[in-house]
């Protein structure tokens, strides 16, 4: 099988999320990559070095700068004339584009795969990860999104694939990019952080969240996450949300502070290696999944913990 992997990038850096997808694709067959963007040849060079990659397709065009689905989906659909499967990371970019490609090809997408069980057989979580379904596709071409935490990352170095320029239909004239608000942060990205400190509704407001969660995260060199309740209440921006409808994370250590453990939250973090919970309610559901629990008032426990580490 010949596979095509969507490379996630910001026109200058290749994003880590790509590497797990390469591992998944390699289980299906030969791996080709697609770098679509504008002024992104540097990304193609990085992509060519990923171990196990056969070829890199580079589509460099102003129309692809912001990965607008209306523009890139036809490009990918064209490339699928020579590929049997296309795989995307299950990031917001991948989730936005993949179904559009699937519909253009008249195939049913397989979302968020956890494993490759055979040429057309995969497992995927349903009902917020409360069940794992094994699904088999009957379509001629496969369109897949990959859950990053379920696959090891391919080696970013060691490969020497050829880079080949490709072109597509360009600007579909349906949509335009207006702007973005991307928080610059020195902190590790949530989906690749080794340690995550996450805060919930108990943190009261943005200042309190910052005052109690940030110093602990700094001490541990950790990423910062939050429950939906904390995001909805405006303590932290939307991209901090961990859960069924936010980010799926699986760090070495996940520290949940003042988070009750609703199923939608657990769906996003229950594959973490070690879960630590601090909550004042000893019956909070989070303790049912926590490896280490501390029943305590966070306003006393967290500063003490930060100081003693």
């Amino acid at each position: 099988m010949k596979t095509l992997v969507w490379v996630e990038h910001d026109n200058s850096e290749l994003k880590d999320a790509t590497l797990s997808v390469v591992t998944a694709a390699a289980k299906l067959g030969e791996v080709h990559l697609l770098v679509a963007g504008s002024g992104c040849s540097g990304v193609a060079d990085q992509a060519a070095k990923i171990a196990g990659v056969g070829k890199v397709h580079l589509a460099d065009d102003a129309a692809y700068e912001h990965a607008l689905a209306e523009n890139v989906a036809p490009l990918i659909a064209d490339l699928m004339g020579h590929h049997d499967a296309v795989l995307f990371p299950a990031t917001t970019t991948g989730k936005n584009i993949a179904p559009r490609v699937a519909a253009l090809l008249d195939v049913m997408q397989i979302s968020d795969i956890l494993s490759v069980e055979g040429g057309k057989v995969f497992t995927r979580p349903i009902y917020a990860g409360n069940a794992i379904a094994t699904v088999e596709s009957s379509d001629a071409k496969l369109v897949i999104t990959v859950r990053g935490t379920a696959f090891d990352k391919a080696e970013p170095a060691g490969g020497s694939a050829a880079v080949e320029a490709v072109s597509g239909p360009g600007d579909a004239g349906l949509s335009s990019f207006v702007g973005s608000e991307i928080a610059e942060s020195e902190r590790p990205e949530l989906t690749s952080a080794k340690i995550i400190v996450s805060g919930g509704r108990a943190l009261k407001d943005a200042e309190t969240f910052e005052q109690f969660i940030t110093p602990l995260a700094d001490k541990l060199g950790a990423g910062i996450g939050a429950s939906r309740a904390a995001v909805d209440a405006g303590y932290v921006p939307n991209d901090y949300q961990v859960g069924q409808t936010g980010k799926i994370v699986a760090p070495e250590v996940y520290i949940a502070i003042g988070i009750s453990g609703a199923i939608q939250h657990l769906a996003g973090m229950k594959d973490s290696k070690t879960i630590i919970a601090i909550n004042k309610d000893e019956d909070a559901p989070i303790f049912q999944v926590a490896d280490i629990g501390l029943v305590a008032d966070l306003y006393k426990a967290v500063p003490e913990l930060t100081e003693k580490l």
Binding site: A69, A98, P99, I132, V135, F287, G293
Partner: protein, 250 residues
């Protein structure tokens, strides 16, 4: 302008789904079902656009069993004007691609300016239908909407993305899918629930639209994920620090 709002009947988000012992699926017998929460947000947004004088009519559509009428009545009670049920037999799963084809056929008849969907259903978590519909209609898509602003011939959508927020401008007609923070859906009042019973609700079948709903994916097994065991509780912060140190974290 008309707004088309597809709504799906799903297991209530407060219910913990149970896997059937024979591995054939999720046990939905005697389980509370509700409108997919993202679809409530879509209905609410459509109503707000109409209240702002930017739309005339809201049409709710559901593809599902006869009982999905309840979901449509909820949409009507919130403020949708009429509803279309595309009925399938109870227990038949319609995949997003087929749902998108049915919605495309309805959009061809109704010519909505906006189709407002949920970003994902909390049952199958596919996150596909809106994007597929956009492709089939050859129209732009504003997925994971945090803010929606309708202008004369375009809609500006602020989207929730992994790194933060992104704003795109789409020419109408357009497809929008809702994220959690777009709005807080209203509750239907009792008088509106009564009124909703009299609003028009058409029933169709996929065949009426010439859409083949035969699934492309076969689910061969559904199983429980590995269960995490509760660990131990530590007595105080010192004990927690000791554990963290033993793990090499601090």
């Amino acid at each position: 302008m008309k707004i088309l709002v597809p709504v799906k009947r799903v297991i209530d988000y407060n219910v913990k789904p149970r896997v059937k012992a024979d591995g054939s699926g999720i046990d939905l017998q005697n389980v509370k079902m509700s409108m997919n929460p993202f679809d409530e947000i879509a209905v609410e947004e459509a109503i707000r656009i109409k209240e702002a004088g930017k739309a005339e009519e809201i049409i709710a559509v559901s593809v599902g069993p006869a009982k999905a009428q309840e979901t449509l009545r909820t949409a009507l009670a919130m403020g949708a004007d009429r509803a279309i049920l595309v009925e399938v037999e109870d227990g038949v799963d319609v995949e997003p691609l087929a749902v998108a084809k049915i919605l495309k056929a309805i959009a061809d008849e109704e010519s909505p300016g906006i189709v407002m969907l949920g970003k994902q259903s909390i049952s199958d978590d596919s996150n596909q239908t809106g994007q597929m519909l956009a492709a089939l209609m050859g129209r732009p898509q504003g997925t994971f909407a945090n803010t929606v602003e309708v202008e004369a011939d375009s809609v500006t959508v602020k989207r929730e993305i992994d790194g933060g927020l992104e704003t795109v401008k789409l020419t109408l007609p357009a497809i929008v899918t809702t994220d959690l923070r777009l709005n807080e859906p209203r509750y239907a009042s009792l008088p509106n629930i009564m009124k909703a019973k009299k609003k028009p609700l058409d029933t169709k079948t996929p065949a009426d639209f010439g859409v083949d709903i035969a699934p492309r994916l076969t689910t061969t097994n559904v199983s429980e994920p590995p269960v995490r065991q509760a660990g131990e509780k530590v007595a105080d912060v010192d004990a927690l620090v000791a554990k963290l140190k033993a793990m090499g974290v601090a």
